[in-house]
Amino acid sequence: MNAPVTSFDAVSVAVLSPVARFNLRIAPADLAVASKVFGLTLPTKIGAGVRNGDRAAYCIGPDEWLLHAAEADQTAIMSSFDAARADTPHSITVLSDREIIIGITGPAAIDLLSTCCPLDLSCMAVGGAKRTVFDYAQIVLIRDGDDAFRLEVWRSFFPHVHGLLEIGVRELAVGL
């Protein structure tokens, strides 16, 4: 997907390169096993995230985690979790192709996202992630910095969400 980069001084919207993405469901009591398999201590608080190099883990439900890794590692990660399944029941699903990831950066990033996202984004912790809505499309929003966000949206909702972001960027550019 090579969608055009839309930007002006205060905010830019870019489609980022794909990552290996997993949805992990596991009993919180068994979290240490998943942390060991993935090589990253998974956070326990909903909304919290941990990142180390190209691996990242975000807690998005009481027993649900979103995992990111380099595309090349996808098969190896699945094999490691398959091996652990004999002793520790869990479910892990590959979502790499289900979602497209959009990067939103710049001082007006919060203004742009707030046009369609009902969360109070100024209160969102840096490094964390939340599943929420963007104009009725379900998204996962990851905050990488004070004015840097990544938005993950299902492929089928992408034209709608990206279109709204493009309109928002133009509106901000002309000072609406």
Partner: protein
């Protein structure tokens, strides 16, 4: 916008993330075939339709995905409290009603 406290996320989040899921604390009968038609009808369709504090189920569908229960005043639309699924209805006697 209405903010709803999700007991799992432990945060007050916008109403748009939530879905209403009917009255709370309705137990499915253990042996439905032993019930009369009227009793089964009451279980399926007859709800209390409270004016005032109502116990109801909500789902944080665009968030953590969990069902939980809430006490909401159907007159003022104010959420009195929310609590996790499986917990008993909180006793509000002796407390001031929500304004």
């Amino acid at each position: 916008m209405l903010l709803i406290q999700c007991p799992y996320c432990d945060d007050a989040l916008p109403e748009l993330e939530f879905a209403y899921a009917g009255e709370a604390h309705i137990d499915r009968p253990k042996d439905p075939s032993a019930l009369s038609d009227e009793e089964w009808r009451d279980f399926l369709f007859i709800r209390s339709n409270v004016k005032g504090v109502h116990a109801e189920r909500w789902r944080h569908i665009n968030g953590c995905g969990r069902f939980f229960n809430a006490l909401r005043d159907t007159v003022s639309d104010r959420f009195v409290t929310t609590y996790k699924a499986g917990e008993p209805r909180p006793d509000l006697s002796g407390k001031e009603p929500a304004q």
